[in-house]
Symmetry: C2
Subunit: 259 residues, 2 copies
C-alpha cells in the first residue's frame, strides 16, 4: 500500500529582520525536514515586546535571495508577521512556528521585552506549537550553525510529542561548538533584572537626549534557571505561558476592603 | 509633638498619550491625596506591548496646560516613560505608579498587547507598587470621573496594604454611573481571544495594504474572570505577575529525549 507522506510546514519569523544571518541559518537547516515559509520584519525590531500594529495598515514585500524567492518582509513587528502569515498569507496553518535565531540571549525578565519570544507567543495564541530560539552572544560574526541544528532537532521532537495548548518553549543556546556544550537543561525563567540607567547627552543644537544602557544583573540562587544554565554552557529550554494571573494573590485581595 | 506629614508621591503614565482625557481625569482626582508627576508618551501608543526603545535615544519635552506645568512628554513607549521617570527624571522613587485611565478595556489575552498594563509592569519591575486602570468603553465622550475616583480609593488602599514584590493590579471599570455599578470583583485573566483577520485594500497606486480588525471572543465559563465581571457591571481587579514559566510543564519536558 502506498502512503503519501504529508510534508511538514514550518513558519519562521524573528525580530532581527528578514536579512539577519540567524534567520538564514535556521531556514537552511529546517529545509531538510520541512517546507519553510519566512514572514519576518523588514527591519530590526528588538525589544518591541508583544507589540502589534493597529493604527496604520501593514505592507508586505516579497524578498529574493540568490535570485530565488526567500520570504515575505512586513513593515511591522514580529507578532504582526506571525498574525498576518497565519490569518492571511498562508493557504493553511503551519505545523510549527519558530522564531529566531535571535542574535543575543532572551532570558529572565528580558523575555517580556523580547520581540523574538513575542513571535512564538503569537503562534501559540493562534493555536500552533511554537518556540523561540536565541544564541546567547552579542558578538558580531557568531556561528549560528549548532543553534540551527538544535532548532531542527527540537522541531522534530515537538512534532512527535506535541505541546499543550497555550504553552510555548523559549530556547537559549550558548555560542559554543557542539562538543563543548554541556547538554540541555529544562529551566525556569530567571529572576535577574536590568540595572539600567539613562545617559543624557546634548545634540549639536544643545538639546538633550537620553540613551538607555545597562546590563542584566544575576540574582538567582537556583541552578535550574535560564541564565544559570547558559553560564554553565548548557542549552536552556523554558516552557512559558501567558496567563499572567497571580493566583496566590487572589485570596489575599478578596480580603481587602476597598472603599 | 509636631509630626511632619510626608506627602505621597504618585507617578502617572498611560498609553493614550499625555493629552488624553483619561489621564487628565486621573491626575485631577489624585491631586487631592498626593503630589502627582506625569510622564507619558507624546503620542498614542496602543497595543505596543512591553516595548522599550533601545535603538534610538529618547527626547523629553515639558508640557503645559492652562499656563501651568502639567508633565513630561516622552517620544517613546509607556514602559520607556516609567523607566525614564524612575531612573532619571524623578529626584526620588514615587510611592506608587498608576497607568491610565485607558480609553477601552484591557482584559483577557489583550493584556499582553497592552501599553497601559506595560507601564504598570515597568513600575513593578522597578520595585514600586503599581496598577493599570482602564474604562471599558471605546465610545467617544465617555465619562472618566468614577473610574478616576475609584483609582484614588484603590491608591489609598494599596498605600495602606502594600503589594507583594512582583505583583501588580490590572483594573477595568465599566462606563457606568457609580450607583449602577455592581461592586468590585477580584478576578483571573480571562481566556477570551481575538478572532482577528486582515482586510486587504489597494492604495491609489494599486499597491496592497492590510488592516487588522476583529473582536475579543468570549470563551470563559467561569464567573470570576475579568471579561465576565465587566459584562456583569462589576469593576474587575486582576492581580498579575510576570514570571511566565509554565511550572506544570517542567516535569513533562524533563522526560523528553531531545536528540
Amino acid at each position: 500500500m502506498e502512503t503519501k507522506e504529508k510534508k511538514l510546514s514550518i513558519l519562521v519569523s524573528n525580530d532581527d529582520g528578514i536579512f539577519s544571518e540567524g534567520l538564514a541559518s535556521l531556514v537552511r537547516e529546517l529545509q531538510s525536514i520541512a517546507s519553510v515559509v519566512v514572514v519576518a520584519p523588514e527591519t530590526q525590531q528588538s525589544a518591541v515586546g508583544h507589540a502589534i500594529t493597529v493604527h496604520r495598515p501593514l505592507r508586505v514585500r516579497e524578498v529574493e535571495k540568490d535570485g530565488k524567492f526567500f520570504g515575505y518582509a512586513v513593515d511591522g513587528t514580529p507578532a504582526d508577521c506571525v498574525k498576518l502569515a497565519i490569518r492571511h498569507l498562508l493557504p493553511q496553518k503551519p505545523n510549527l512556528v519558530i522564531s529566531g535565531i535571535n542574535h543575543g540571549s532572551n532570558t529572565a525578565i528580558s523575555i517580556i521585552y523580547s520581540g523574538t519570544v513575542s513571535a512564538a507567543t503569537e503562534g501559540t495564541i493562534l493555536g500552533i506549537p511554537s518556540f523561540a530560539i536565541s544564541l546567547t552572544s552579542f558578538e558580531s560574526n557568531v556561528d549560528f550553525s549548532y543553534a540551527a541544528k538544535f532548532a531542527r532537532i527540537l522541531a522534530s521532537t515537538i512534532i512527535e510529542k506535541g505541546l499543550p495548548k497555550g504553552t510555548l518553549l523559549n530556547v537559549n543556546v550558548p555560542p559554543l561548538p557542539e562538543n563543548e556544550l554541556q547538554g540541555v537543561m529544562i529551566t525556569k525563567q530567571g529572576k535577574s533584572v536590568w540595572n539600567d540607567e539613562f545617559e543624557a547627552r546634548r545634540d549639536p543644537g544643545n538639546r538633550q537626549y537620553f540613551w538607555l544602557k545597562g546590563e542584566l544583573v544575576e540574582l538567582d540562587v537556583d541552578e535550574d534557571v535560564d541564565q544559570r544554565a547558559i553560564l554553565n554552557n548548557k542549552i536552556s529550554i523554558t516552557p512559558i505561558q501567558f496567563d499572567l494571573t497571580d493566583y496566590k494573590m487572589l485570596d489575599e485581595l478578596r480580603k481587602w476592603e476597598i472603599k
